[in-house]
């Protein structure tokens, strides 16, 4: 499998505080990679570096086949990003948001119309095309934000806690979309708090205090730590470190 993210000895310091301490990992194409850790463990920092929002202190980082230092713009063309705050404009309609974001990524109007129709049909949002985003329920907003983040068919999509604040059933439906995207060959890099979501990932890395403490498939991690579920794995790692 082609490696779409390669990280070697990534270090990020803020003054004397080390947010990312020699991170090493690879992500393959089409993989769903879960990036777990407590608040302040350094996962958002690492993700921002991968997206080109922030530059590393040292280490080698390749994303979508491009060097993060020298080819930031090419990296950005090949990724999608969905922030914690679900990242659409509340005061614009569904269609206006799609139009704006396709404009940024240079998608032609003809292509946009075709894709937009399919997207709205898939999400069952055809009747809400001209509704303001602010008027939609949170679960729909999140699904729509994800669809917009992969509207330009990026190689990788970065999701920063995409399902905050919704119930497990809505989360499950959101994950159906993630699986669909992965089936189409889009690599999904996702940070999350929810351990049930960790079970859905192909591989999971668990960060603590700036370091990756464990990295494997959910199955192997459970075996390794003798745990029934990911929740236990997570707690055991947190205790070991302390």
């Amino acid at each position: 499998m082609e490696k779409v993210i390669e990280v070697h000895n990534l270090v990020k310091k803020f003054g004397s505080f080390v947010a990312n301490d020699h991170l090493n990992f690879d992500v393959s194409q089409g993989e769903i990679f879960g990036f777990l850790g407590a608040n302040g463990a350094g996962k958002t920092t690492a993700m921002k570096i991968l997206c080109g929002l922030s530059s590393p202190t040292s280490g080698q980082v390749n994303v979508a086949g491009f060097d993060i230092y020298r080819e930031t713009e090419k990296v950005k063309r090949n990724i999608g990003y969905m922030s914690q705050k679900f990242s659409l404009y509340e005061d614009l309609t569904v269609a206006e948001n799609i139009r704006f974001f396709s404009g940024i990524y240079g998608i032609s109007p003809a292509e946009r119309k075709e894709k937009q129709e399919k997207l709205l049909k898939d999400l069952d949002l055809e009747s809400s095309k001209d509704s303001l985003i602010g008027s939609l329920p949170l679960g729909w907003k999140q699904k729509l934000a994800f669809s917009v983040a992969i509207f330009h068919d990026p190689k990788i999509v970065f999701l920063d806690e995409p399902t905050g604040g919704v119930d497990p059933i809505t989360r499950r439906k959101f994950w159906d979309l993630i699986y669909e995207a992965a089936d189409r060959g889009i690599t999904v890099f996702v940070t999350t708090h929810y351990m049930d979501e960790a079970e859905y990932c192909n591989r999971v890395s668990i960060m603590n205090a700036g370091r990756i403490e464990a990295l494997d498939t959910p199955e192997n991690l459970k075996k390794q730590f003798g745990a029934k579920n990911m929740d236990e794995v997570f707690l055991k790692i947190a205790r070991n470190v302390e």
Binding site: G52, L53, K76, M82, S83, Q84, Y89, E96, F100
Partner: protein
Amino acid sequence: MFRVAGYRLHVNPNPQLATRNKQIMKQFIGFLHKEFLHIFRDPRTMVIIFGLPIIQLLLFGKVINNDLQNSKIAILDQSHDNTTREITSKLLSSGYFILDQELMPGADVEDVFRKGKAKMVIDFEQNFEQNLERDGKANVQLLADASDPNTARILTNYASAIINDYIQKEKLQNIQLPYQINTEVRMLYNEGLKSVYMFVPGIMAMILMLISAMMTSISISREKEMGTMEVLLASPLKPIQIVLGKVTPYLLLSFINAVTIILIGTLVFGVPIKGSIVFLIAESFLFILMALSLGILISTIAPNQMVAMFVSVLMLMLPTILLSGFMFPIENMPVPLRILSNFMPPRWFIIIIKNIMLKGTGILYVWKETLILITMTFVFIGLSVKNFKIRLE
């Protein structure tokens, strides 16, 4: 013979570059479209941008008016000759005064004030005309109700100006008086002492500050607050494209406002534009750029809309009103405030605008102020870039 050097003009530029530029242009237009949607969909923004300038201008121009018109006066004429009658009619036809009553000699002047009927009493001495023609000197007493000292001062100034003017022009020419020295007061550039002349430049500075600096900073920090800024930064858009996209709509709107204020100032309030209109617009443009860069600077500091608004109001609006010389003369301020006022961009803009509109001067007289504004613009842009980089690291 000269030989034309053999340069070949590349009429056919790199086609790849051309499509790239075209795409950047399309991205930019898409961005502007989105920004205008934000502006037009938000009623509060619309009120601030389009309602506020007009309301402010009308309010300051019409209601908060320091000019005195139709002030009631009483006249106590003990002489009743041609001169006093002519002076009286001059006063009453000036527009500043209307006659409340004529007092009889021996009447209780204070009673008039106590009843609040008149603000000023004009008392001509007996044999006014005779005295004037014989001695070249006659007395008229102006009694004003100084419980409102500003009004009293203005009323007495107006009245004595009118009386002196009359005496100079009509009377003294016929009388030969050696070595007489006359002081003549003229209020240059604003002969009518109209306060609206002062308010128009002041309001223009205030509104442009408000819309350019405050609205820009709020609109950028809103993207930060909503999390959409990260999405924009993770997109192929360059930071400079994002900033330009955010700023351009406010540049256009501020410009429309500047023109509106100038138009209302001249058409409704009769403020003259003695200097070049092109120069006036160019200076306004410079001030808008300065305010926009200040807005960008604020947005690099403020984490959310609330902070952006607070910083804008506390650091821009109040100082603009209080320290720029718009409301209170800078010369009367204590030294620390006077020094502080030097750092208020509107102070310099108001000087420039007044010079152009009222005195009709050109760049030669305001180059220093212009240079200060240009320097401020560059300082703000420099600080913003520095802040922005720190944030990205």
